[in-house]
């Protein structure tokens, strides 16, 4: 009844089109049957203030592809969707910057800026990925080796707090140290501190030339070393090493490369890959397929981890993950590894337990942390999806408390159950 009354208040405030009631969607055990869709940034803030006033918590949703990331929610009554915050307000081809609303898809931004010779340096898996969702999740894909991380593309940000306040940080210029770099804090916070309304982005010039190649390498240590060397070629935008894949020998790897930049550099590096690694041409769409695979493998009901890994420890990490039964995609240049595990029917709980216990030390040994990006709800029970954050938890708590005092933004999802 409380929720129905609150939804009526949202309708009164923002119009009937701002609320959609639907069949329950199960979000890791929380059935949610209403989506609030504010039509503009001001309405986002109004919605948040109203939800907080009613004591209702929101799952913040962009394209929806990463709605399930994180710990089991400790609350959550409605979905707050940015789907109506769509559009590129400003695009300045002479400057290489644009101002985009949070619900705009990366694909739409790319289509718009490509026409003027620019590229948007964001590469999240999922065709429906939005700008807000990509920044909130700090989502990366294969091309982020060349593009940089999402935070690097960000010039300025507008956000709304759960209290209904709206604030800006950064700006539209490409160099800026005016005040704290709040954009870094919100990027990768999974909507736990604020809801992103819009952002200023720094674009990159489209390259003269793009080529895609692949090589099959044997011997994990040699493959890792060769992949790392390849990733450091001047025109390397993607170097992705796949191992533990059905059809590949245990110690073999398929390595996919994308070379971009000035034609002379691309051709020189392609010749090097062909001569040194026996690489052969792939269609340009291979990278898109790779990115989508990264976002969906190992499929429904499996586990997928994002792991930070130093290049020098990549081979050991591959070996440890493969021993635990992983399918692996690794980006040596990005220092990131994605490991997917299918769970056997009948033995799922024990298998999940073994996998979590294998991944955590392997990630620590590799020099980085780990985040379980995808897991069935039952596997999240009593488990931390964000790796070991114990030492920093008091500070995370303090931030959550100050930025979202009512704990109504994605409650429980973030590290430490925040």
């Amino acid at each position: 009844m409380v929720q129905a009354a609150a939804l009526d208040r949202v309708r009164d405030l923002l119009g009937a089109e701002a609320v959609v009631e639907h069949a329950p969607v199960d979000l890791d055990g929380r059935p949610v049957s209403a989506t609030v869709r504010p039509g503009n940034a001001e309405a986002v803030a109004q919605t948040l203030a109203l939800l907080e006033d009613c004591g209702l918590a929101a799952f913040v949703r962009g394209g929806g592809g990463r709605l399930g990331v994180g710990n089991r929610p400790s609350g959550g009554d409605v979905i707050l969707s940015t789907e109506r915050l769509v559009g590129i307000d400003v695009f300045e081809p002479a400057e290489g910057v644009c101002h985009v609303r949070a619900g705009t898809t990366i694909a739409d931004i790319r289509a718009r800026v490509n026409s003027e010779g620019w590229d948007v340096p964001l590469d999240p898996p999922g065709e429906r990925s939005t700008l807000g969702g990509t920044l909130a999740a700090a989502a990366v894909g294969p091309r982020c080796h060349g593009y940089g991380l999402p935070r690097d593309a960000l010039l300025g940000l507008e956000v709304a707090f759960s209290t209904g306040e709206r604030t800006r940080c950064g700006g539209r210029v490409v160099k800026n140290v005016t005040g704290y770099d709040m954009g870094k804090l919100y990027t990768g916070s999974f909507g736990s501190l604020a809801v992103i309304e819009a952002a200023w982005l720094r674009l990159r010039p489209l390259p003269q030339q793009v080529r895609c190649l692949e090589a099959r390498l044997s011997g994990l240590a040699d493959a890792c070393a060769a992949s790392l060397t390849a990733s450091r070629r001047e025109s390397s935008r993607v170097t992705c090493m796949a191992s533990g894949v059905p059809g590949l020998a245990a110690d073999a790897a398929r390595v996919v490369f994308e070379l971009t930049g000035d034609t002379a550099a691309v051709e020189r590096d392609a010749a090097w890959l062909e001569a040194e690694l026996g690489a052969s041409e792939l269609p340009a769409t291979a990278i898109d397929a790779l990115r989508e695979h990264q976002g969906t493998f190992p499929g429904e009901g499996g586990l997928r981890f994002r792991i930070g890994a130093l290049p020098s420890r990549l081979a050991a990490l591959h070996a440890a993950l493969q021993a635990a039964g992983a399918e692996i995609l690794s980006y040596p240049g990005l220092r990131l590894v994605y490991a997917g595990f299918r769970l056997p029917a009948g033995d799922s709980e024990d298998a999940a337990d073994r996998i979590f216990r294998a991944v955590a030390p392997a990630a620590a040994e590799a020099g980085g942390g780990c985040l379980c990006e995808s897991a069935p709800a039952w596997a999240k029970a009593e488990r931390e999806m964000h790796g070991d954050v114990t030492a920093l938890l008091p500070y995370f708590r303090a931030l959550k408390h100050r930025f979202d005092p009512g704990h109504i933004l994605n409650p429980g999802r973030f590290a430490g159950g925040l």
Partner: protein
């Protein structure tokens, strides 16, 4: 006071604790001589443990503390008015250089240029290169998110810091980030870089190393005036080129440089020169040099020179990097301003800035990171002349207002410090600043760590805890 000094001396040793007036004089200000304040004491710890003990001692005595690197900052960020300066210059060890994973683990007092000198043999360098890189320290660079001429291609300090160890204002130690550059949870490394020493004191940093480019080409394009040079920059950017640096030196700066020990043989009849640096492999640079030559000539350059060797390249850069020093000949004081505008607005903004200088009858020259839209209008003056000083301050404010109206911001690399805290309202409203204070209050709730910086003291009642300003003014001695 005697108790405090005695305790500090017991921690850092007699040689590491300065308190006599003649010792403190050098700490009266940083590179911004307009703002000054007298610290109670300066301590030079040698380890994280000593930093911790100094911080705890200051807290016990209710005294503010201010981290300081080499003191080359240009916004009064290291000013400690009655507080204790914690200078990290004795923490200058390079703990590790990992050439495979391309990172270095350094203490905060390592001099910026020294790190690249150490890693050069392995073909690696540390990319952020502020003009003061021969003396400024990595810790100070992290606090200020320092840039430099090569920011255009390589980014600022924040793009090169992987992990941090800090002593927080309560004396506790935290480790943030990881050498992989990614760690689960909030991106606190990103939030700490550029926080101007208000969230804690860096005691160790893991920073990225980059491969030294195979080849560097440096061009010098001579333009009839600075506005035309700015248009040339816009065309280079729009052509999709990403030079390592795009730096403009105007006529007045050229005159100062050519009359100084930094003389570089620049044409004195030029209205401005544009230094364009391209780096990468030889196979791409020939084409890029040709494109830049074609663009700059088309946009009005009367001459374009390509450095024939490293000596000539150094000569071009001597003019750029020696510019601030050369201006010391023009007047006793130099106010190095710092603001950013959208690059497309450079031509009109630079024209208006020159007009502001003329209207206030000031000696104003420009040498700046044009590729980033990062302006440095430099005003030569004599602070002993109060009437001239008033004109300098008024012109400075007008310049900032102009840049903000053009869509820009009030600092691109020098930081806010004490210099621009009262101009923050030009860019941000109270809610924006309150959000920043929420972050600060998680780590420095009573404002005891570097008080009086970043947040305005007028219009907005900034220091959320009134004790904060009291800390800065605790009477000692």
């Amino acid at each position: 006071m005697p108790d405090l000094l005695a305790t500090l001396r017991a921690i850092v040793g007699d040689a590491g604790c300065l308190s006599r007036p003649e010792e403190l004089l050098v700490y009266e200000c940083d590179g911004l001589t307009l703002h000054s304040g007298w610290p109670a004491a300066v301590v030079l710890p040698r380890s994280r443990s000593e930093v911790q003990r100094v911080v705890r001692t200051c807290r016990e005595h209710g005294v503010a503390f201010v981290p300081r690197g080499a003191g080359t900052g240009l916004s009064g960020g290291a000013l400690a008015d009655a507080g204790v300066v914690i200078e990290c210059s004795r923490m200058n060890r390079i703990h590790e250089v990992n050439t495979v994973d391309r990172y270095a683990v350094v203490e905060p007092g390592v001099v910026n240029a020294d790190l690249s000198a150490v890693t050069a043999a392995a073909g690696l360098f540390y990319a952020p290169d502020p003009s003061s890189q021969q003396v400024c320290t990595i810790g100070g660079n992290i606090a200020e998110n320092s840039g430099g001429p090569h920011t255009l291609k390589y980014g600022t300090t924040t793009n090169h810091v992987l992990a941090l160890e800090l002593v927080l204002p309560d004396g506790s130690v935290v480790e943030l980030g990881s050498p992989t550059g990614w760690a689960p949870g909030y991106d606190l490394v990103g939030a700490f870089v550029g926080s101007e020493g208000t969230l804690g004191i860096v005691t160790c940093a893991t920073v990225k190393l980059e491969a030294i480019p195979e080849r560097i080409e440096t061009l010098l394009a001579v333009f009839p005036d600075v506005v035309t040079a700015c248009r040339g920059v816009g065309e280079i950017i729009q052509a999709g080129l990403v030079p390592a640096a795009l730096e403009i030196i105007d006529r007045r700066t050229i005159a100062a440089v050519e009359a100084s020990v930094y003389r570089a043989g620049l044409p004195q009849d030029a209205g401005a020169v544009l230094i364009i640096e391209l780096d990468g492999s030889a196979v791409v640079l020939a084409d890029q040099v040709a494109r830049v030559r074609e663009i700059t000539t088309r946009e009005g350059a009367t001459r374009v020179e390509v450095a024939r060797d490293d000596a000539e390249r150094q000569r071009f850069w001597r003019a750029r990097k020696g510019a601030f020093g050369a201006m010391g000949r023009l007047a006793p004081d130099l106010y190095v301003h710092d603001a950013v505008v959208p690059r497309v607005k450079l031509p009109e903004v630079i024209e208006k800035i020159c007009a502001i200088g003329d209207r206030y009858e000031l000696t104003l020259s420009n040498v700046f990171h044009a590729g980033d839209g990062n302006l440095h209008p430099n005003i030569s003056f004599d602070r002993r002349n109060p009437e001239e000083l008033a004109r300098v301050v008024a012109a400075g404010r007008e310049i900032l207002e102009l840049c903000v109206e053009a869509g820009g911001v009030i600092t691109g690399e020098h930081g806010i410090g004490s210099e621009k805290r009262d101009f923050m309202g030009l860019v941000f409203d109270e809610a924006d600043l309150a959000a920043m204070l929420r972050l600060r209050d998680c780590f420095n709730p009573d404002g005891v760590c570097n008080p009086g910086k970043i947040f305005p003291t007028t219009r907005f009642c900034v220091e959320s805890n009134p004790k904060a300003r009291g800390y800065a003014r605790v009477p000692i001695g």
